[in-house]
Amino acid sequence: MTLQTVLLVAAALFAVGLYGAISQQVVVMVMMGLELMLNAVILAAGAFWWFLSPTPDGQVLLLVVITAMTVEMAMGFAVATLLHRSRQSDMTDMATDLSR
Amino acid sequence: MSVVEVAVGWVPLAAVLLLAVAAAAAALDGALAARAAGRPWTAGLPVPWLETARLLRQRRRSTVAADRPLAATGRIGLLIAALLMVVVVPLGPWTLADLSVGIVWFNAMDVLVWAFVWLAGWGPNSVHALVGGYRFLAQALSYELPLMFALTAPAVAAGSLRLGDVVAEQQGLWFVVWMPVAFAVFCAGVAAFSVWGPFAAAAGPELAGGVLAESSGMDRWLVLAGRWALLAAGSAFAATAFLGGGHGPLLPAWLWTLVKTAAVLALLVLLRRRLPTVRPERLVTPAWLVVLPLVLLQLLVVSVVVVGRG
């Protein structure tokens, strides 16, 4: 268990999450891909903290990442609910007009 | 009194002890049920053993297109969550793992129960079981926040998330004396995450047993034993975090922990017969509009006391 190996694992997790976020059609599945990417960020941040500079205040970064995940989740659920309510659909392909 | 960690080899003993306490609670419940039915209370005492023997002999039933791995996870999970809870709870001077985040650990384990109950409901591919699983999640959203803030109170008072410190801080004065609201809410939370008593709507008889509907034999035993074990583990935690753990005169510390655990457990079992089952969709209003502010006020009182003490 060295910094390099942990980062490799995190990179694998990130890539899997990215694949899901790009390829999935259902909004909630896209969210799961994003969550997986943030999961990788948590692992990498923990490894950086432990292997490079285990100072007391370095842990705060992880706390911020976890917060970001929670916010992403809450907003994602709200958007998915609204989308489903207004269009009876939860597919990203049917909501492309939202990006214009 | 300081708490020391014992070797890993004691884990099986802890598991046996937890199951024994859970069985004692089930026996008390059986005795009360027998008395309520007009039979002598001694007739109800062997109920847990008879039920165990019956279920172990019963043939396993399965449903069409059941999701077996998920159902098995949910059914075994309850017992495992209860065992993982008691890992951090000290028995007098001994503990299996005096984690520096013991209270958060306990909280994380009671959140695992969310997943396990829902999985036990989803797995059998049956309407009644699934509705039971959904009922539990609806109820979990209501009870979890008050439970979390109730858990915060002893942590703030002890200035530590370590259960050993929480016990040591209660030398002389138990936390229940100056945080009774947190204690009461915590006990209600214990009943709620054990899917038990007033919070048993997820396994209610009007739902043909809810999450229990399709389970039989060993599967059913695991869920039932898991619920009692969760109740016992929660009571042990309440005895430790609020009732002073091993502190007490005359008796040895480990016996005090057991006596207090048994007292909380007996209180919960006795109260169960006096309380109706709460409808899950009605729980959220009182839980968030009444109980949550009360617990926050309790937390404020505790914080002010701690700050004032310096």
């Binding site: 490799l8 899997v16 799961m32 692992l43 292997f51 706390l63 309510r85 | 297109a65």
Partner: protein, 186 residues
């Protein structure tokens, strides 16, 4: 040595469960596969002496995934376990992009000359985290908690089908209990 074994097991579980999220054809299994991945990463954080953050990751993510499963089942509207179907677009491009990303990140992980460790971990890391949060970073954490609460409220407002005036009437003195109003809806 034991740490290494535990880490590799957890890493294998985390990545395998992550892949399973997009491979299994049951919404419940996909969601709980993600939960397993998070639990593995949370336990791996325990190896880095981050007990609080590790346990909090387990706590929060299991909770989130329990709710996530409900959303998945609610919105998908059909059971892919019964009707196998592909719910993906641009699969090949996505595979290429993610493989490239993995290659880049892995090269970075292996070839960047990481500096050596600068400090030793403090004695009680949970306390030091609290010090870090409540000390100089008070402002950050205050903002974070405010953002969190604003998010909760905003999400509720967005998701609420009807406001309290609809439920309780003009005078907010509604006599119907929540849960009893299903038949009055719309």
């Amino acid at each position: 040595m034991l740490d290494d074994v535990v880490f590799w097991v957890l890493a294998a579980v985390a990545v395998a469960a992550g892949i399973a999220v997009f491979r299994v054809d049951s919404m419940a299994r996909a969601t709980y596969a993600l939960a397993v991945s998070f639990v593995a990463v949370g336990l791996a954080l325990l190896l880095f002496d981050l007990p609080y953050l590790g346990v909090v990751v387990v706590l929060m993510m299991v909770m989130e995934m329990a709710i996530m499963a409900i959303y998945m089942i609610m919105f998908m509207g059909m059971n892919p376990a019964l009707m196998p179907m592909s719910m993906v677009h641009g699969k090949r491009a996505a595979l290429a992009v993610s493989s490239l990303t993995f290659g880049l990140l892995a090269a970075g992980a292996l070839f960047v000359p990481w500096p050596s460790r600068r400090a030793a971990p403090a004695g009680d890391l949970v306390t030091s985290l609290g010090q870090a949060v409540m000390g100089s970073k008070m402002l950050v954490m205050m903002t974070v908690s405010a953002v969190l609460f604003a998010t909760i409220v905003a999400a509720l407002v967005l998701a609420l089908p009807r406001g309290r005036y609809d439920r309780l009437g003009e005078d907010l003195q509604g006599d119907d209990l929540p849960g009893d109003d299903q038949e009055h809806r719309r």
